[in-house]
Symmetry: C3
């Protein structure tokens, strides 16, 4: 199993858990859990594959991904009531999903020998778009756009860290690890310690 496949599996599993948690907040039935789990789990990677013209799309060519997402939906359906704050779980699971999806996106572009900036963009897109679809469909405020938190920034920082390591070595593993660690570190720092970039504040126009 390649590093890319492994990252895709992990990303699908964790994003599916977050999709099912959002379904539990919307009080859907078990099929609604599965629907949201699948959209969230494969959304980002599907956009990546369509943009890079990878054929077939990763989950069309390998059904394991879908079964993982369905398993995650069933698991959450029967256990979500046991946790105290589902929103906290959602936030933290989503942070792990982001941290594996960004290197998964980079790896797919690296395998295709894309230039550096495209590798970075595919990492950010794969990381952010599955969760964005989940939140838009369920009409939640998209995590990626929450004011005063690092999210797209964490994805971008991780992808740039991976790119920096790529300049130093031709091995794939260190690149992916640097990317995942930086992404998660930035996102976790934002959740725990309130790390943020300055947000835009409109000031009155000059006289």
């Amino acid at each position: 199993m390649t590093a890319l496949t492994l990252l895709d599996y992990a990303s699908v599993l964790i994003f599916a858990l977050t999709g099912a948690l959002v379904a539990s907040r919307a009080q859907l039935d078990i099929v609604g859990f599965a629907f949201m789990a699948c959209i969230t789990a494969v959304g980002g990677g599907t956009v990546r594959d369509v943009l890079l013209d990878r054929n077939p799309v990763f989950w069309v060519g390998n059904l394991t991904y879908i079964f993982i997402a369905l398993g995650a939906a069933v698991f959450i359906y029967f256990t979500a009531h046991k946790v105290e704050s589902r929103y906290r779980w959602l936030l933290w699971l989503d942070s792990f999903a982001l941290a594996v999806a960004v290197p998964a996106g980079m790896a797919a572009a690296m395998v295709m020998l894309q230039p550096g900036p495209i590798i970075v963009l595919m990492g950010v897109a794969t990381g952010c778009l599955g969760g964005l679809m989940r939140d838009v469909v369920c009409n939640e405020v998209p995590l990626v756009l929450k004011q005063g938190e690092l999210y797209a920034t964490a994805a971008l920082g991780g992808a740039l860290a991976g790119l920096a390591v790529m300049q130093m070595t031709h091995l794939t593993m260190p690149v992916l690890i640097a990317c995942a660690a930086t992404t998660w570190g930035l996102r976790a720092g934002s959740l725990l310690f309130g790390w943020q970039l300055p947000v835009y504040k409109s000031r009155p126009p000059r006289q």
Copy 2:
């Protein structure tokens, strides 16, 4: 004309009617009706074709689909005021659209000799995504996520029924009919008699 083409025509026509009805609820002008009719009519099938890498996308290769959608938009623009409850019409038309779009999605995947689970997924995706786009764009609560109704479940049930028939016969027609009938039966039962799966209810966490 193949069964696939016929199903695509029917699905485009009925989904276009629902898109135009949503446009009438948003009080758009005639071009807005056409815009919403087209997005709703071809949205699900377009995603299906992009995922399966069918070239060209069905409506790019055959303009009849677009003309059908435009005709439906004009028809609704001049007649919607004559019906008493547009929302009721919307719900019922949408149930028929779902019941033809699910087998249309399955048929496209069957023609490409995809494995069973992909056939089921393409049926569900083709059935649900056009309406989902319509509702997200118009900021209505997506029908697919309405609590306590069978929608994605109806699509999934229909696709699984079609798959079951596929195990018994190599003929396409019985598969598509079983799928359409089951999908519509489940959806109609939900609208008429309130059939539903148990929805997730959060309970307080265990002590």
Copy 3:
């Protein structure tokens, strides 16, 4: 540089400015500005390229587009507070973006020798979908669906004007200019003078 490339550059630049302006209204950080600028700038053209199966997608094959969008995001981040009404700027910039994106969409389909109606549809889709994604993601009322304004209608009118010129000449330039001028004229007339098509008004059903 071909006319198509030039139009794509202009459309990416102006749509990126509108995406960053929406980010400033949502008070995002600089990476949020870049994220929204990129989605808005390349959204419509990406859908066009995926639908027409153009490979690679325009910005994957030429990184300049992304750098233009990033530059626009940085520019707006540091200057948006200087303007008095950001919403007015947003509306007017968006009108120019629409007026270059519609011919950009047409040009791509013309190069591929698509039939007339597909050329028109690609123009409308390229023009409208980037802004639609921007507004759906940020949960603003989509400009394309604003009641009593010409938007999709302006795009359609421009595309039809371009098509009419295409019947008279085999030169590309006059087609694109007619399309851009008509689109912008209709949209500007709607913003300045309130031009509109009659909107649908529900009347009570007949007895």
